[in-house]
Amino acid sequence: MTTTTDAPPQVRVRPTPVMRGYRFELVKLLSQWRIRVLLVACWIAPAAFVALVSLQSQLPTDTVFGRSMHATGWAGSLVVLVFSCTWALPLLTSLVAGDVFAAEDRLGTWRHLLVAVRSPRRIFVTKGLASLTVLLLLVAGLAVSAIAGGLAAAGNRPLVGLDGHLLAPSDAAGTVLLAWACVLAPTLAFAAVGLLGSVALGRSPMGLLVPALLAFALQLAQLLPLPVAVQLALPSHAFIAWRGLFTSPAQAGPLLIGLVVSLAWAVIATALAYRLFLRRDFTDLTYDGSGRRVLVAGALPLAGLVVLTFVVLTGATSAKGSGIEQAKVQNSLATVYAHLYRLQTRELHRPDVTEAQLQATASCDKGGSLVADHGAGNDWRCVVSWHLPGTSAAGNAIYQLDVTADGRYVADGDGPKEVNGYFQVRTPTGDAPNPLWQFDGNVDLLSSTKE
């Protein structure tokens, strides 16, 4: 029945080199109109947004650093960073990493790719690297564009930190870049979840939505008065914790924990996706996601990671309750006030005073005598007292504080017009924004209470 060849053929099994596979995956991603639109948007839209908002009289004061957008160009990039952490980065990870495997299911190209590359491991690696590269390009675009837009619109001027101290332009530049670098860790975590969703759910659109849905769920969770150990155990905490870089000294504890947790999520979610991918039967034409295995091999291990992190953090840190305690709020408010008082003094061309000379203190109460003085809420009422050199009488200023569960607060002044009761102060050169009228602060959720 058969004819035969004359000599044994030379045969080899040779998987595709990683670099070639990586280049191919990159070409595929960059040939998609969706990715091209995202790239253009990320490299242009932030600059346009920051420049436009900086020209408006109304600033996004509900966003951290939003009220400083007229004062310095660096604030604009931080406003974009806040927006990115809330919406843009989870959505970008959905659209890039969340689709990188599912796209092959939709196109029916798995078998072609496997025959060409000959190694599911290398396919996984090259797809992961390519989606990471595109994500980095997108994040770089957001950062560069936002910084460029801010500097063009408001100039390279000092930035007021979240404890009221002034960051020189060079320090502001370094800190802003560091903050953008820090959010790469949670971005990686969401990208890994995207890979997991893409591998586990096949062509189902749910795979694409997993990072976005996770981000939405975590944002809802962050609005709740959760114990600080739970907050820190969530992979999205580093999207908030970079704010700690803008105090002096930096609130490094929550940030470092956030980075470690995010990276742990990135590693574990990637490993789970890798495991599911290698176990997949590519000859099964009816494959449409891993079904129940998604729950067992995907969601449960990540839920276990949250629990494990919570247990470790509870044992290893002094974090208790919400992390927002009366003494910490008072301490933070007094520190910010002292820094900003010096700033106001300089604006008014008055003799300089030091924070030590001011001896600023704050006395805060939450919701009156019937409410315990800890936790988030907009019912914090504080009285700040300070002393001027050469006078025995203490000055008092009242603030209404809106403290959120993540430790951020907005202080709204209610006192003499010349101190903190009006949004402008009269300086020898004309009216200027009053730094003591409304300002942002940040309570370190992990710091130990100083009575």
Partner: protein, 319 residues
């Protein structure tokens, strides 16, 4: 001197859960041979083609490809190319980009365009080489899939329904390419539902039914398996012809409700062995009835296929 075929499979068995896709399949394909793989839906063709491409491994049995035993997934040797369930192509890339990327993945110099251009020319797609394949017809995609397989100068080419969606000119083009490859020593295994394609291309066929081989051998031998066939008979005098056919020994005439007769009242459908048909023709001539058409209702290969896979049974009984 050692001599080995391109594919040699013995007792190949593969199941998916409770479903047995292949049940003790033997397969031999020699270099330079175009081997057809046919069978009804669910017979195990795609599973067998997947094994040849290394997309899966058999649960038991022995499979050698190009002289190398295949023991694990994707461990088939270099020199094997092809596709199952249609060619995997990326619609956002042009035809040339698709082929260049594949060449690069398979280790060829990405900058070398001659191979890509040659492959595109062989399948007649040079004019649309720089068009995105999003707008390609099914037939154009099939041809591009074939070009992708040619790119790697395969020694074993595995094709699943390569003529699917092709117009007559495109089909002739593809047939020419496949025959050319076989002439140069490439073994080609292709599946098709079109028996005329198999008759035109293949020197041997393997018929699968429910995971088992029900026939394997030369196409000429398959035709002989068809046995007695139904024939359409069109004459100048249908009434006289009907009477002559009834009087011819060994022949049966289909009743009036037969499908073919409903479509054309002038046509008789007769059933019988070839010698009886010869006698029918002689009698018709003697009766001065002109024979305008005498042809099998179903092609012999197709009839053999239907007979071997059991699909033709109901028709037989009906007659």
């Amino acid at each position: 001197m050692h001599r080995s075929p391109a594919v040699r499979g013995r007792g190949i068995r593969k199941s998916f859960g409770d479903v047995i896709a292949l049940d003790g399949v033997d397969l031999d394909v020699a270099s330079g041979q175009v081997h057809g793989l046919v069978g009804p839906n669910g017979a195990g063709k795609t599973t067998l083609l997947g094994l040849l491409l290394g997309l899966a491994v058999a649960d038991s049995g022995r499979l050698e490809i190009l002289g190398t035993p295949v023991g694990r997934t994707l461990s088939v040797p270099d020199g094997v190319a092809g596709f199952v369930d249609g060619p995997g192509l990326y619609p956002s890339l042009t035809a040339r980009q698709n082929l260049s990327a594949l060449a690069s993945l398979r280790g060829y110099d990405a900058g070398r365009t001659a191979g890509v251009d040659d492959a595109l020319e062989q399948v007649g797609l040079t004019d649309v080489a720089d068009d995105r394949i999003r707008g390609f017809s099914l037939g154009m995609r099939q041809r591009l899939g074939l070009a992708a397989a040619l790119l790697t100068t395969p020694r074993l080419l595995v094709l699943d329904e390569p003529a699917n969606g092709l117009d007559p000119a495109g089909k002739r083009h593809v047939h020419r390419v496949i025959n050319g490859l076989a002439a140069e020593g490439t073994a080609v295994v292709l599946s098709s539902h079109r028996m005329d394609d198999l008759a035109a291309l293949c020197s041997e066929v393997t018929i699968l039914a429910t995971g088992r081989v029900v026939f394997s051998g030369p196409v000429s031998k398959l035709a002989a398996e068809s046995g007695e066939l139904d024939y359409r008979l069109r004459t100048s005098d249908p009434a006289a012809a009907h009477q002559v056919a009834l009087d011819t020994p060994g022949l049966r005439v289909a009743p009036g409700h037969d499908r073919a007769e409903r479509q054309d009242a002038d046509v008789l459908v007769v059933h019988g062995p070839v010698p009886a048909l010869d006698e029918l023709v002689r009698r018709l001539v003697r009766a001065d009835v002109a024979v305008r058409e005498l042809a099998p209702v179903v092609a012999p290969l197709e009839a053999a296929f239907l007979a071997l896979t059991g699909d033709g049974q109901s028709d037989e009984e009906e007659l």
